[in-house]
């Protein structure tokens, strides 16, 4: 599917972010196309989280611009970003473990019988939609009223992703969705991402530390190091050791076995 679209869904040009005298991002260009998984890779502290926080409206960039569907945008709050179709699934997922799947799915955007905070919830309709939307990307919830706390980590990821898509995300940002999960659940999440990828109209930015996962699912790669892009390319362009090397910040990794054998 890579390269299908000519026009990027979201693009950044020369993005700079400084925290006081510290430069977290130093002129980052990024292009993400619909129907593609774009892996954002880099060592700890490279600036990945800072970049996606800018894209999702949490931080304002010091310099540079964000272009969504050809138009330059400026976000002053996460709400603005959501409104522009950028859905971010954070590591903590922004879920309330104590309440049900449905209540989490519609948190902040409940369907009610009449407007205003005291509008009665359309619980049946909400249950149905939540179940359907999660089924679309591969998870069958047995009971939409089960507390989120009783769900597996993979299911929670799916819930957060399904929620973002249902509420109009064209760009889906996933911040290390597999990092805190067991082997099986990691696969579950990757399958979910694959399903979204196949929709064809959603651009996915995937932050990961896991080279294997990136290689399995990503169509395009961008490598960050010390706040700058040090490499990019499609899955065809990059081969074997390139990814490993770039992920470590560009430094040549010697034979690991040799290094360890003191």
């Amino acid at each position: 599917m890579a390269g299908n679209a000519t026009e990027p869904l979201i693009e950044t040009r020369g993005l700079v972010k400084r925290f006081g005298s510290f430069t977290a991002l130093n002129g980052v260009d990024l292009q993400v196309f619909p129907g593609e998984v774009h892996a954002l890779l880099g060592d700890n502290g490279a600036g990945k989280s800072t970049l996606i926080k800018i894209l999702s409206g949490v931080f304002k960039p010091t310099d540079g611009e964000i272009i969504v569907e050809g138009r330059t945008v400026s976000f002053s709050s996460p709400r603005d970003a959501t409104g522009a179709g950028i859905g971010t699934v954070y590591q903590d997922l922004a879920l309330n473990a104590l309440t049900s799947v449905t209540r989490n799915f519609f948190l902040g955007r409940e369907i009610t019988h009449f407007p205003g905070p005291f509008g009665l919830l359309k619980m049946g309709e909400m249950d149905r939609i939540a179940t359907e939307e999660m089924a679309k990307i591969g998870i069958n919830v047995a009971d939409p009223n089960q507390p989120v706390g009783t769900m597996s980590g993979g299911q929670r990821q799916t819930l957060a992703i399904a929620r973002a898509i249902y509420f109009g995300a064209k760009v889906l940002i996933l911040d290390e969705p597999t990092s805190a999960l067991g082997q099986k659940q990691q696969m579950e999440v990757l399958k979910t991402i694959r399903k979204v990828q196949k929709f064809g109209d959603i651009a996915i930015i995937l932050i990961t530390h896991n080279e294997i996962h990136a290689r399995l699912i990503a169509d395009r790669f961008t490598f960050l190091s010390l706040g700058e892009v040090i490499g990019r390319g499609t899955s065809k362009d990059l081969e074997g050791d390139d990814i490993k090397r770039l992920m470590a910040g560009g430094a040549e990794i010697g034979d690991l076995a040799k290094e360890l054998a003191v």
């Binding site: 997922l93 879920l95 209540r103 069958n140």
Partner: protein
């Protein structure tokens, strides 16, 4: 490889949870058990010694008056527990509830008694420097609704202010409302003393007394508005004049009722006299049997069998009695005061006296006139809270604000507004509590509501509210209030133990509930 089974695994797991287990996972199940236990205890122990009955309504605990009084205590606590509980679900505390009750009651009573004024203090230099007051507005003779509104302005503002400080500063609400606790109690005492400086007041008193019995002001035909007790004390001629305009069937039913009461009172008196007369004979009989004096025993037994008291003659029902009874049926001319401080369900309680004869005291009179109005207000508030918390968008926001503040914010929930609203609601509940009290007893006291905030929090915890927020139900809060109210009464009736043991009991229940709640919360969070 059987892939189908692995993908279905999680859901299958959940489905296998039986109904019993899911019932036991309900947060209210433990508290409901304790409530039923206390209900049984109170019913059982309040039955007088020597009588045996499995009917819990046979004893004092649940006779008509017992129900009236117990439900009042429970409802009062229940009202503030709703405010406290919802706030805790949203992750915050309010320790100022008790002081808010004292403040609201005093404010309302002062406004009712002395009116409401807005004064501007300024420094005057005429005749030496001193502070003078310029009265901007002065309103006298304020109606109950006016007094309630004025009080609400103060208390709701104060609730809002506490909430605003909490969300803006990020300080723990524990500290902010602890400040509110001292501030409001002090302010109440200071204000009352200041008013009671006047020559016609008891100097230094922190109470407001001599309020009229507002809820019992009635519109008496031909006499205008007056208190019910004054109306009943009118001269006979006036009473008869009032009766003249009463429809015949009303008079007939009032007379029937009064005749019944007279008969019932006379019967009760006869019974009491009979019991009094027979009791010494029975004691003598016991002695005689013990000492083996069979002849004597036989004589006494005969005496008991033939013992008769002359039945008391029922009192004649006069037109004056009927007129007074009619005055009792007149509705209040101050419906708002009656709404908060009056009685409800009188027709049912009347029916339970005549003809049912259950709501009858030992002397044959009607026992309880009805339930306190605060019970109805509690029920209304509880229904409102239930609907809001479990059926509306606001409810979902409350749960998420307390359950995971960051998640709520990230999803666009206005968490600050949610919290501030609930601080205001807590102040509202405290004010409602005070309103009921003021109109019930027609006095106010700066010490009112002392420690109520802790009782409210305790009731919420007992009812399954988790102190860290995000978890609990309105049904639980209601049950918590029941447990608190029932425990006190139940322990009072247990023979041979100190009534204060109810506090020991409640202390243990609070800790046990907190442990249970935490356990349930962890199970739901998946960390257990």
């Amino acid at each position: 490889m059987t892939q189908a089974t692995t993908t279905r695994k999680e859901s299958d797991r959940l489905a296998s949870k039986g109904w019993l287990k899911s019932l036991l996972a309900r947060p209210e199940i433990g508290p409901i058990g304790v409530m039923l236990l206390l209900f049984g205890m109170l019913g059982y122990f309040s039955i007088p010694a020597g009588e045996f009955s499995l009917n819990p309504f046979a004893g004092e605990g649940f006779n008509a008056l017992g129900i009236r009084n117990n439900l009042r205590v429970i409802a009062q606590l229940g009202i503030i527990a709703l405010g406290a509980g919802l706030l805790i679900i949203a992750g915050e505390f309010d320790l100022s509830i008790g002081s808010m009750i004292g403040f609201a009651g005093a404010c309302m009573a002062m406004v009712l008694r002395w009116g409401f004024a807005i004064v501007i203090p300024y420094i005057s230099f005429e005749g030496g420097m001193h502070v003078e007051f310029f009265t901007l507005i002065y309103i006298d003779n304020i109606s109950p609704i006016g007094a309630i509104m004025i009080t609400m302005c103060f208390t709701l503002f104060f609730g809002w202010l506490q909430g605003y400080i909490v969300v803006r500063s990020g300080l723990p609400s524990f500290i902010v409302t602890l400040g509110g606790l001292f501030f409001l109690r002090g302010l109440t005492e200071v204000s009352l003393r200041a008013f009671n400086h006047r020559p016609d007041q008891t100097k230094g008193a922190t109470t407001v007394t001599e309020l009229p019995d507002i809820k019992n002001i009635i519109d008496v035909p031909g006499h205008g508005e007056m208190e019910r007790s004054a109306a009943k004390a009118l001269p006979d001629a006036d009473l008869l004049a009032i009766l003249k305009d009463v429809p015949a069937d009303t008079v007939a039913s009032l007379t029937e009722r009064l005749t019944y009461t007279a008969q019932r009172v006379a019967d009760a008196k006869t019974q009491i006299m009979a019991a009094k007369g027979v009791k010494p004979l029975e004691r003598a009989l016991e002695n005689a049997i013990e000492s083996g004096n069979t002849v004597m025993a036989e004589t006494i037994r005969n005496k008991i069998d033939t013992f008769v008291v002359t039945p008391t003659v029922p009192k004649e029902v006069t037109d004056i009695d009927v007129a007074r009874a009619y005055i009792d049926t007149l509705g209040s001319a101050r419906p708002i005061a009656d709404f908060f401080g009056g009685d409800i369900l009188q027709p049912i309680f009347d029916f339970l006296y005549f003809p049912v004869d259950w709501n009858t005291n030992n002397f044959g009179n009607q026992f309880a006139p009805g339930l306190y109005s605060c019970v109805m207000i509690w029920v209304l508030l509880a229904i409102l809270c239930y609907v809001v918390l479990s059926r509306t968008q606001a409810g979902n926001w409350i749960y998420s604000t307390g359950g995971n503040l960051q998640a709520a914010k990230a999803n666009g929930v206005p968490t600050d507004r949610v919290k501030i609203s609930l601080f205001v609601f807590s102040a509202f509940c405290a004010t409602i509590f005070a309103t009921c009290q003021v109109f019930e007893v027609n006095t106010a006291d700066a010490a009112k509501g002392n420690l109520k905030e802790l009782e409210a929090i305790a009731a919420a915890v007992i009812g399954g509210i988790v102190m860290t927020g995000g978890f609990g139900t309105v049904v639980g809060i209601i049950v918590g209030a029941f447990i608190f109210g029932l425990a006190k009464e139940a322990f009072f009736y247990i023979p041979g133990i100190d009534g204060s043991f109810y506090r020991v009991f409640l202390g243990l229940v609070i800790i046990a509930s907190a442990l249970l709640n935490e356990n349930i919360r962890k199970r739901i969070m998946g960390t257990l």
